[in-house]
Amino acid sequence: MIQLSAKILEKEEVACDHYRLALDAPLISKDAHPGQFVHVKITSQYMPLLRRPFSIHRINSSGIEILFRVVGTGTRLLAEKRVGDELDIIGPLGHGFMAKEDTFTAILVAGGVGVAPLFALAERLRQFTEVKMLIGSKTKTGIICLEKLEALGIGVQVATDDGSLGIKGIATDLLEDFLVTAASPQLPIYGCGPMPMLKVLSEIAQLYSSPCQISLEANMACGVGACLGCVVKMVDHHSPSHFEYKRVCVDGPVFDAKEILWR
């Protein structure tokens, strides 16, 4: 974990309102794992005041990449940055995916910009195992990184709510279809996306006895475990109330799906 000023090396609008930034940060990338994140100070003003967390989208020797969707003030200002601008970032932060390298196939399920961290994971896993990526979005403009994933030799299937690309449906439909016909059982599943999708994902995984790791999001202040602002409810068999709060920033963002106490 280090705080540094990273120059923006590349900027690409990968889709409408989706941007990719390549950051000059070898001191971060050397320790980074898929599923970890960086905490980004977007401006020197106090608006937004707090840092914004972004998953590490790609890891290479010169630094890392992030991929984000514009949803509010912070991401809008971030999208206005230019190549050469410096960003004050802290990272790598949190616990990433435990990449199981000894399985036949790994299934990565992404909702929308949830592709961001799974991309780094796919790049890692494909060195050892077959990688299957299932991506869902409202409509085809929200399906990002498709060509790049296919270029890496990763099998991608797509679902859109409106059927404008791939099947008409959601990513977890693709997952069920896949698992029903899968050759081997208990294939590991890795997921990132909106909460409702992740909940269904975790139910399917349980049904097929697949180990399932999920990357969660939460409002964050510190990003390093100090403020207790980012907690999620987790199963705790030792506690009389059977739950405990865990911090997304340091205990996660990746959790075993079985640990999560879904509402």
Partner: protein
Amino acid sequence: MEPNLSVNIGKLRLKNPVLVASGCFGYGQEYAELIDLSMLGGIILKGITLKERKGNPPPRIVETSSGMLNAIGLQNMGLSRFLKEKLPLLSDIPTTIIANICGETPEEYATIARELSNKEGIDALEINVSCPNVSHGGMLFGQDMMLTFEVVNQVRKATTLPLIVKLSPNVTDIVPIAQAAVDGGADAISLINTLLGMALDIESRKPCLSNITGGLSGPAIKPVALRMVRDVCKFVTVPVIGQGGIMTWEDSLEFLLVGATAVCIGTANFVNPKAGVEIIEGIRDYMKQRKMVKMGEIRM
């Protein structure tokens, strides 16, 4: 001549006047990879209660204009696990460590204080009578002169550690409450804790925080904090630790000018973990430039 930044808070000597605030720096270790903890004037730990507290359900934080609301609800492992799991790590941190304590009754405060006394690793206590995010105790004490006196007085009898009393800004007049704390035996006053506030999400038409209300901190509250710190400094005879919205050394200086002996950095740590250290450097440079040699010369 190199300026001497040390200050005395009662019998507690700080190597410099910059502390990091309770709840904004965990137990110190969280930031150990990012800054040299030994540079800090001191670390105030996350609030400790007698029993474990799970805290409030999420969402617990939301950003506002130049500020943030938090409703952590004093999540902590409770006194006994703290003593077992965290205390042993504290004596390794080469700076002053201050425990922040909160209770539901004056007796509870006293019990915690007693248990934390004579323990390697704890140099002073900050009595939190100002937490806005708990339904019993906390701010309810700090909004009442008599109750403030009662809490401080009971704690005073339970320990010889230096006592800092942390006050709530959510009051009509802060001065009599500060005086009650002094009368109860406070060695110093710390203020301000957060302002009670709330925010709504107009999409979901619901409060942003599950607890509905939360404590407002950050630059937004600095004007209110400064005014209250000034009022208290003019009145009480004990040292005052100023806080609320300090982001830069210039902000710190405003508090020192109105009479604060030390300052506390809260929300700024989240924004810039180096804030505390940079503020110390800023104060040192300011003193050098103005040829000041000791902290007392800053006050206006």
